[in-house]
């Protein structure tokens, strides 16, 4: 601690150079925190772990193919399954094609959905009851309901895309859950229309298993049951189901990590250059300190510490900027688009704080190690001779 003042003063020896280097660290760490937080948000479980005993059954070839409604009864009979609801992605257009008007539109079985499957979501019992009783009623995530300013009794019209149907729906009330970007309306509404899948197909099945331990067994049993049928299934946990959307975007994780590593490497070179310049300018001072009795270890420690302090300072400011400036701004912008579903968990988590700290210290050490070793090996007489 007695050396800290010396280290601190040397960090700010050339204020402009330190400021410019710190700005590059801030910029990179802001970017890293943004990317890491975004990746984490995309991979996060919107239910916050409460959906661990929920399963999604989809067609084995993917979401592009339907399952048969007749499969419901057979799945219900698998030991451990306590509730099941068909769910179909309606994928219609609300108002127009503008991204800010995007809504997740899903149909389900209202008698079961919030009561027995998504029982961790919050919905007013009166709203739930009214929704069950209203064939053309819909409930909406509170966030999206507020966004469009819907009030009870408001009517909306969705224009079907792949399902040739333009449902006219009545807003019943909101629900609260991790993901509030969707609206839900009755599966029966689809079944009573004349699209080719009426009373025949569903997009997938959402089901609840009695205990978390039974989840793998139930998933395996369902897939086994339909493995040689016309509609083979692929049963996923809720989290696996979410991650599959991320995979649809390509290897995003690899891309983000790759970009981060390249940027970090470039940053390390920038900081290393700054520290090397600073050490080179101080050859005589370092020789003087060695003359006074400071050992090689002291010099190594000082230069490394300067590098780490600079990187850490930049890192902390970078995280703060990401946390309080960029992420709220990105969330505000994305909430107006179809990306809003990914914004639910877009925040700087404690893990990201730790990651940013480790990255900052790591950059500081990597950048400082070479100049530090070179300075510590300096021959005192050669160092003094530069001026004396």
């Amino acid at each position: 601690m007695k050396y800290f003042s010396l280290i601190w003063k040397n960090v700010f020896r050339k204020k402009l150079r330190t400021t410019l280097t710190a700005l590059s660290i801030i910029l990179v760490l802001t970017l890293i925190v943004l990317l890491a937080s975004l990746l984490q948000a995309m991979q996060a479980d919107p239910s916050g772990g409460r959906g661990s005993n929920r399963l999604v059954v989809q067609h084995a070839t993917g979401l592009g193919n339907f399952l048969q409604l007749s499969q419901r009864q057979r799945i219900e009979q698998v030991p451990g399954v306590v509730a099941i609801s068909p769910e179909t992605w309606f994928g219609g257009v609300y108002k127009d094609d503008k991204p800010e008007n995007w809504i997740g539109q899903l149909t389900c079985d209202p008698d079961i959905y919030f009561d027995r499957i998504f029982d961790d979501a919050k919905i007013d019992p009166a709203v739930n009851a009214e929704w069950k009783a209203t064939r053309n009623g819909f409930v909406a995530g509170e966030t999206i309901a507020k966004k469009f300013g819907w009030r009870k009794g408001d009517r909306i019209i969705l224009k079907g895309t792949y399902i040739p149907l333009n449902p006219e729906l009545v807003y019943v009330g909101p629900y609260n859950a991790g993901d509030e970007s969707n609206i839900f309306f009755h599966n029966e509404y689809l079944n009573q229309s004349n699209w080719f899948g009426a009373n025949k197909y569903t997009g997938l099945y959402y089901l609840k298993v009695d205990t978390g331990e039974n989840v793998p067994r139930v998933a395996a049993a369902i897939d086994k049951m339909f493995e040689n049928s016309d509609t083979p299934t692929k049963t996923l946990t809720e989290k696996q189901f979410q991650l599959q959307f991320l995979e649809m975007m390509g290897n995003v994780k690899f891309l983000i990590n790759g970009i981060s590593l390249i940027v970090l490497f470039a940053l390390t070179l920038i900081v290393a250059n700054t520290i090397a310049m600073s050490a080179r300018e101080r050859v005589t001072e370092i020789a003087v300190m060695r003359t006074l009795g400071f050992g090689r270890g002291h010099i190594l420690g000082f230069i490394l510490s300067e590098s780490v302090v600079m990187a850490l300072l930049g890192g902390i400011v970078g995280v703060l900027i990401a946390r309080f400036l960029f992420i709220p701004a990105v969330v505000a912008i994305c909430n107006k688009t179809s990306l809003s579903v990914w914004m639910v968990n877009f925040r700087v988590s404690p893990e990201t704080w730790i990651l940013a700290t480790v990255v900052s210290v790591g950059v500081g050490i990597l950048a400082g190690v070479l100049p530090a070793v070179q300075s510590s090996r300096l021959n005192i007489v050669d160092g003094l001779r530069r001026v004396v």
């Binding site: 007695k2 003042s5 010396l6 060695r290 003359t291 009795g293 050992g295 004396v388």
Partner: protein, 237 residues
Amino acid sequence: MAEPLIRIEGLEKVYHRAAIEIPVLQGLNLAIPEGEYVALMGPSGSGKTTLLNLIAGIDQPTRGRIFVGGRDISTMSQTELASWRSHTIGFIFQLYNLLPVLTAFENVELPLLLTRLKRAERRKHVETALTIVGLADRVDHYPRQLSGGQEQRVAIARAIVSDPTILVADEPTGDLDAKSGDEILELLRRLNEEFGKTIVMVTHDPKAAARAHRMVHLDKGVLHADEMTETGSLRTR
């Protein structure tokens, strides 16, 4: 006869530049008793700064031995030498070599950071050293805010703050005007006479050398003359 504080036997130093060997000191023998004030003189390239560096333990001889206070410093490792220097040697440079980012107080405090002294004790030592050199009122000044003479006095305070046995000075007045140079030489005399510091000073200036007790002349790495100055003669009478 008492053992001299510094005893040099058969000292040789050879520098290597590519494949060429450059002998700087050749078979030098010298003894400096405790409390003596010695001026090392000689033309450029005579090896006086090299000898000073070897005595201060910042360079190591090619051959020969250097005993300081009975210890052979020519066989010490770099780590041992660093520790030895911190409490035995006070180094005064021609260009003062203060750290520009530190105040006068912090510059003087620097060697004490290597000790186990507490902050308050360090403060006391620094204030004493700055008072001795007459700069107690300049503690918060940075080197750029001081004159050359004042900078050199801060450097002397830094050299004496850990109470070393030996002060080595490499042309301490070489970068100063006559008046400031004179003040520095007077300060060195006081440190020698009042505080009993053994001083080894490299100088080109005969007037500065005359303030020492003894003048050692080097030429081409060989001891050319070793004579008592008038100051030294008066001292021994």
